[in-house]
């Protein structure tokens, strides 16, 4: 061996690179998901409750400001009045359950029944999108929004290997006709 006096031989360097690669792989595929899952289990609740509370205060604020709800699903305003201009108003939100909620949901779907954790996320998304429509209408200067429709669609699917929409991403769209 000509390199006998060196610190590391070629074989040892190779071994070291191999070990580092294994460590990185272990971290990426085992340690990180585990930590993220634990984080999700503990903190997701606080994170979601914060937005839920904000939504409630915003809803109250709009109610105080207008005295009534400015959204309606009827095709004409009641009572009827003169309309000068109409236009489309729309708002959207994309929501997804946390990893912990997805895990709870997958366990629940073995036995069937009401999945409470998903309920919460979907209810939040739907209320939030309607609140945004209210605020959007006020911001654009519409007096009222008629014929409101709320649609739900699954977006950003990864159609690969039979695992469809692994993240459970949902989009809510609310739209209606603003009148003034």
């Amino acid at each position: 061996m000509s390199h006998k006096g060196d610190l590391l031989t070629t074989g040892e360097i190779g071994e070291l690179i191999g070990l580092v690669a294994i460590a990185v792989t272990v971290f990426l595929f085992i340690a990180f998901p585990t930590l993220a899952f634990i984080y999700s289990m503990i903190f997701a609740r606080f994170h979601q409750d914060k937005y839920q509370k904000q939504l409630l205060t915003r809803e109250k604020l709009v109610m105080q400001q207008l005295g009534k709800d400015n959204l309606s699903t009827l095709s004409k305003p009641v009572p009827e009045r003169k309309i000068n201009q109409t236009g489309l108003v729309m708002s959207n939100i994309t929501v997804s359950p946390s990893w912990w909620q997805l895990f709870l949901g997958s366990i629940r779907s073995i036995f069937g029944g009401n999945i409470v954790s998903f309920d919460k996320v979907l209810a939040y998304g739907r209320n939030e999108v309607m609140q945004r429509l209210r605020e959007q209408a006020i911001g654009d200067g519409w007096e009222e929004v008629v014929n409101v429709r709320v649609e739900t669609s699954m977006v950003m699917n990864k159609v690969r290997g039979g695992k469809q929409n692994k993240m459970g991403t949902l989009e809510f769209l609310a739209y209606g006709t603003g009148i003034r």
């Binding site: 236009g87 997804s96 008629v146 699917n157």
Partner: protein, 109 residues
């Protein structure tokens, strides 16, 4: 050219429809940005809103609506009634946003 009025009701309240010019459509296909996708994936850990996707979809939908209005103005319509939206997922994480309605000529009264 005045702005095209849009409505998702069958008539435009306060206006009379004189002529129907047929269906007008607008669509766009958007794929997500990989950087935003990774950030959204991290956000997904705690759940709740994924702002990157919300903005992307709204932007795309506005564009689809704009194309629909352009189609309507090319046909000589001054309003679009009964506007509907459709969203579908295309393979590879892309989404197609589609807006359609009926182009009409309206007069006030």
């Amino acid at each position: 050219m005045e702005t095209i009025m849009t409505s998702n009701t069958e008539t435009i309240p306060g206006f009379t429809i004189n002529q129907s010019l047929g269906i007008v459509t607008g669509s766009t296909v958007r794929a997500k940005h990989i950087g935003k996708d990774i950030l959204a994936g991290l956000k997904n850990i705690v759940g709740g809103e994924l702002k990157a996707y919300t903005e992307l979809l709204m932007e795309a939908r506005t564009e689809a609506l704009g194309r629909m209005m352009m189609d309507a103005s090319q046909r000589g319509a001054n309003a679009v009634v009964n506007v509907r939206f459709a969203t579908s997922s295309v393979a590879g994480g892309a989404a197609e946003l589609f807006a359609y309605g009926t182009g009409v000529v309206v007069t006030q009264g």
